[in-house]
């Protein structure tokens, strides 16, 4: 494909779209899909045809628009008024509601199904990563192109040198969205500068001696940010990977997705095939000298494979266990070659940065944390779902405005960020800014974006025990502190919960937290004590109230 052909596809798509007066977006993300949204789309199409409206209204299956709590969602957008008034959003739609929706397509909306779109859930968000989710048909490359997709790739390939692309990402101030927040531009620059080994070490692949890996092994309990992006807008991820490949000089990429995400796998595979057929993957992309291809690799359910060296071992076909760093994958990664590993959300930020410029991106957010962050908002909050907010927003805005606060009669106790690697943040920090540094300061982490709201009935020792059990089960078993330390900590936490632990046990727990954090081989173990450390820091009295008073203890 040449840039001209790309432009033709885009124009054709936009023209075809313009013929419709209205578009009905039906969410087919995992949660709505599970509630039967595919049947809604089918019925809606049939009903519209019956009413003779199928030429005027397009039914489009799209990814998650975010408000999972109200799903299945159908959104009807009127082209003529799209600029001035929001689309009509229908909530809790059942397949049999298709008739009413179709009947009301030109008149006033169906009030019984209508969701309030004026609420802060919609107003306070800022969508960059998710801008296409809920608008683009994830199974149609042409639709993505019509919405401006692959324009960033074209711009990078035709107007920019690889060094300029790296420079743009660096100046944008983008940081890794997988959790640790490493500056993305710096990582790209390192891979770009790293020398591949003299002798190709790849077994069956001489295309490349540098690699780009997209880390889609999202494993935190309650987190579904990356899944929604991969399901809702897979081409955005692919475009980011191709641009990354161009910038660092890689010829091959892998998307590593957990096998528990069948829909994401299906859509990514379909998207890769479409991109290959369109010539957006393969040799001489868009008529340039640059060649790049992508494969999907499935994770077999090990949380530790989200850790980059484990993930690499897993792609290589070995047991997914981490190895000491340095050397970092940027120098020696997949098959010993320089490898760029970025998280799904990080890569989904690339195309808009290239298109709209580093200055635009860096104008959003705080001094050190730029852009937006996607969170999976869950727990004791009214609006559970997927949200994207600018960095620097306060926790209070997220929980009480966007999240709609807690259900009636409950009071806020803490919000947990960062999953099993993160911590619980109590009410006194509700006005804190959400950015990498602030979260770290109060003993939690940004993490990949899980955000669990807890109410006054939550037992913090039990929360710590739950996350420790998760880490214990997911420890790969390679290094001693993580393998045995998490098991011992879990034993003590369970004993505290059962009211059978002494002050000495609490001291042992504290000592183990420090040791496991400092001595574990990889991030899993190093961060496993965080939920305990943070709950001990803010809710120590809950632990102490459960201890046996007598110094002696029998097990």
């Amino acid at each position: 494909m040449t840039p001209e052909e790309l432009a033709t596809i885009r124009e054709r798509g936009q023209e075809a779209d313009a013929r419709f007066e209205k578009t009905a977006y039906v969410c087919v993300g995992t949660s709505c899909d599970a509630l039967g949204s595919a049947a809604i789309a089918k019925n809606l199409e049939a009903e519209l045809k019956e009413a003779g409206k199928d030429k005027a209204v397009k039914v489009k299956c799209v990814g998650c628009p975010g408000l999972c709590a109200l799903g299945p969602l159908v959104e009807v957008e009127n082209k003529a008024t799209a600029e001035t008034e929001p689309a009509t959003l229908y909530q809790y739609v059942k397949p049999e509601d298709a008739h009413d929706i179709a009947a009301a397509i030109d008149g006033p909306p169906v009030e019984r199904l209508r969701a309030d779109t004026d609420q802060p859930f919609f107003q306070r968000q800022m969508k960059i990563v998710l801008e296409n989710c809920g608008r683009v048909d994830p199974e149609e490359i042409d639709d993505y192109i019509a919405l401006g997709g692959y324009a960033a790739l074209e711009q990078a390939l035709t107007e920019m040198t690889p060094a300029q692309v790296v420079d743009t990402i660096t100046r944008a101030g983008l940081r890794g969205r997988g959790g640790a927040g490493f500056p993305t531009g710096l990582k790209w620059a390192t891979v770009a500068k790293s020398q591949p080994p003299a002798v190709p070490r790849t077994p069956d692949d001489i295309l490349s001696r540098k690699f780009v890996i997209c880390n889609g092994d999202e494993g935190d309990p309650g987190a579904f940010m990356d899944r929604s992006v991969m399901e809702g807008d897979p081409h955005r991820v692919i475009e980011g990977m191709i641009i990354a490949g161009y910038a660092v000089g890689a010829g091959r990429g892998y998307v590593y997705v957990r096998a528990e995400y069948p829909l994401a796998v299906k859509r990514l595979r379909a998207a890769i095939r479409q991109a290959q057929r369109a010539g957006l993957l393969g040799t001489n992309i868009l008529g340039s000298a640059f060649s790049f291809d992508i494969d999907v690799r499935l994770g077999a359910g090990a949380f530790v494979c989200g850790e980059e060296t484990s993930l690499i071992a897993s792609i290589e076909g070995g047991r997914g266990t981490p190895r000491p760093r340095p050397p970092f994958p940027a120098e020696s990664g997949l098959w010993g070659c320089p490898t760029l590993i970025n998280n799904v959300e990080t890569l989904a930020n690339i195309a808009p940065i290239v298109l709209r410029g580093a200055e635009w991106f860096s104008s959003i957010g705080t001094e050190k944390s730029k852009g937006t962050k996607v969170f999976a908002l869950t727990g004791q909050v009214k609006n559970t779902g997927l949200i994207e907010v600018p960095m620097g927003i306060s926790l209070r805005e997220v929980v009480f405005d966007i999240g709609g606060g807690l259900p009636e009669g409950r009071t806020f106790k803490a919000v947990q960020t960062g999953g099993p690697s993160g911590g619980c943040i109590p009410a006194q920090f509700l006005d804190m800014k959400v950015d990498y540094e602030s979260l770290a300061q109060v003993g939690s982490i940004m993490g990949s974006g899980g955000m669990i709201v807890m109410d006054d009935k939550t037992d913090m020792v039990e929360i710590a025990r739950f996350f420790m059990e998760f880490c214990m089960e997911e420890s790969c078993g390679k290094c001693v502190p993580c393998r045995v330390g998490t098991t011992q900590m879990h034993g003590i936490l369970a004993r505290i919960g059962d009211g059978k632990a002494s002050k000495a046990d609490l001291d042992t727990l504290t000592e183990l937290c420090d040791m496991v954090r400092r001595t574990s081989l990889c991030g899993l173990g190093q961060s496993a004590p965080n939920p305990v450390i943070s709950t001990l820091r803010y809710f120590r009295e809950e632990y102490e109230s459960k201890l046996v008073k007598d110094g002696n203890h029998e097990r």
Binding site: G551, N552, H553, E554, R555
Partner: protein, 181 residues
């Protein structure tokens, strides 16, 4: 100077540590000058006395009697020493723990494969019931001194006792004092 009130007990162990203690040979005479044995398997005393200065505890906590006695010992004793690997780690006595609870263990020992009168000894008040899980002493009560070894050699026991009797702190360092097994 008054003599140290000295005790030793034999709990869930094989008495090998006490045998090794008897291997102290002529040092026993020196010891006898400095301590008064107030309770021991080698002395005929029925109840554990009060105000004991030092007690060597051989064996793990394996049954109800052990459990009651160790609490009495802790209450009445200044320095409680875990004496030998069973007391320190559970050791061979603890090898029943992986099997599961007392019922399974007793089955394995007294019923399965027994040709002659397979039965479980359970005379009330005669055979103390087993605790669910064998524990090293320090799991049940705080311990002041650990003397590992299976058994601890007479040399090791002597090195420790000389310092205890002299009222000096005991530091367990190095292969001679620390090797398990």
């Amino acid at each position: 100077m008054s003599k140290l009130r000295f005790a030793s007990v034999w709990m869930g162990g094989c008495s090998g540590c006490h045998m090794s203690f008897l291997d102290l040979d002529e040092f026993l005479f020196d010891l006898a000058d400095k301590v008064e044995v107030v309770y021991s398997p080698v002395a005929d005393v029925k109840t554990y006395p009060e105000n004991v200065d030092v007690c060597l505890v051989e064996g793990a906590i394996a049954n109800r009697d052990n459990l009651e006695l160790i609490h009495t010992i802790r209450r009445n004793t200044r320095v409680v020493a875990a004496f030998g690997d069973c007391a320190v780690t559970g050791n061979v006595t603890g090898m029943r723990n992986p099997l599961g609870g007392p019922e399974i263990v007793l089955d394995v020992a007294y019923r399965n494969g027994q040709v002659l009168r397979p039965q479980i000894p359970d005379d009330e008040g005669v055979v103390p019931p087993l605790v669910p899980k064998v524990s090293p002493v320090h799991v049940v009560v705080p311990v002041d001194l650990y003397i590992p070894g299976c058994p601890p050699s007479a040399k090791r026991i002597r090195a420790v006792l000389e310092r205890v009797v002299a009222g000096q702190p005991v530091e367990m360092i190095g292969r001679d004092l620390l090797k398990f097994g």
